[in-house]
Subunit: 128 residues, 2 copies
């Protein structure tokens, strides 16, 4: 039911206090580069790009997820964007070297970050 050939969610989460996050790692520049490159490739209406909150892999942003496949990319730089557009969005072949890892690794890392975040909220609420 997805109305686009691909739908990309790019994390632009900001975190306070110098904590690692996609924003501090340059996600805004990656977003600009991605939109520009899609426009050049004539894919502006075929590949939908949506910003997102934290995807839970904060230490290795910028992170993005591509559907319909559910391909997770990490540490994406502006220099990588043309390759993603050419190989994945035009050629249909995900860029293996940028993929975040296998399901179990991703799941473990994301859930661990979530637990740590909830613990910090609880500590704040308790005034510690």
């Amino acid at each position: 039911m997805e109305p686009f050939r691909y739908h990309v969610y790019l994390c632009t989460q900001e975190k306070p206090g110098g904590k690692p996050c996609c924003s501090a790692n340059g996600s805004a520049a990656v977003l600009d580069a991605l939109r520009a490159e899609l426009g050049k490739a004539g894919l502006g209406d075929e590949v939908q790009v949506t910003t997102s909150g934290s995807l839970g892999l904060c230490e290795r942003g910028p992170n993005l997820v591509v559907y319909p496949e559910g391909i997770w990319y990490s540490k994406v730089s502006t220099e990588d964007v043309a390759e993603i557009v050419r190989e994945h969005f035009l050629g249909g072949k995900p860029v293996t070297r940028l993929q975040s890892g296998d399901e179990a690794t991703l799941r473990g890392e994301i859930l661990e970050n979530k637990r740590r975040y909830l613990a910090s909220l609880a500590a704040q609420a308790a005034g510690r």
Copy 2:
């Protein structure tokens, strides 16, 4: 490669000047209700919830998209959340009455909103 059974992107976009947006239509309350209901159902680690920027259906938010299927839901209220969790995430059956529409309708509406948004940016940049 998605590390979760379901991954939900819920738009929490805010727009200035009283323009229609998911935030003005109560997306924060829907987010809270969704997280609470998933916890109650024991699905906190199985259904990942990520906030997102505009999905392009601003007139009928709160909007959310559920993967792996790519099911778009619109006008979701806190009262609808338990049904989505029970029917879709536990039962595997999307809630038809909340689905946003067919692909062509969604695509047309999203691209029209995008064109309008880009035109307003261009007008701002031109000082009109």
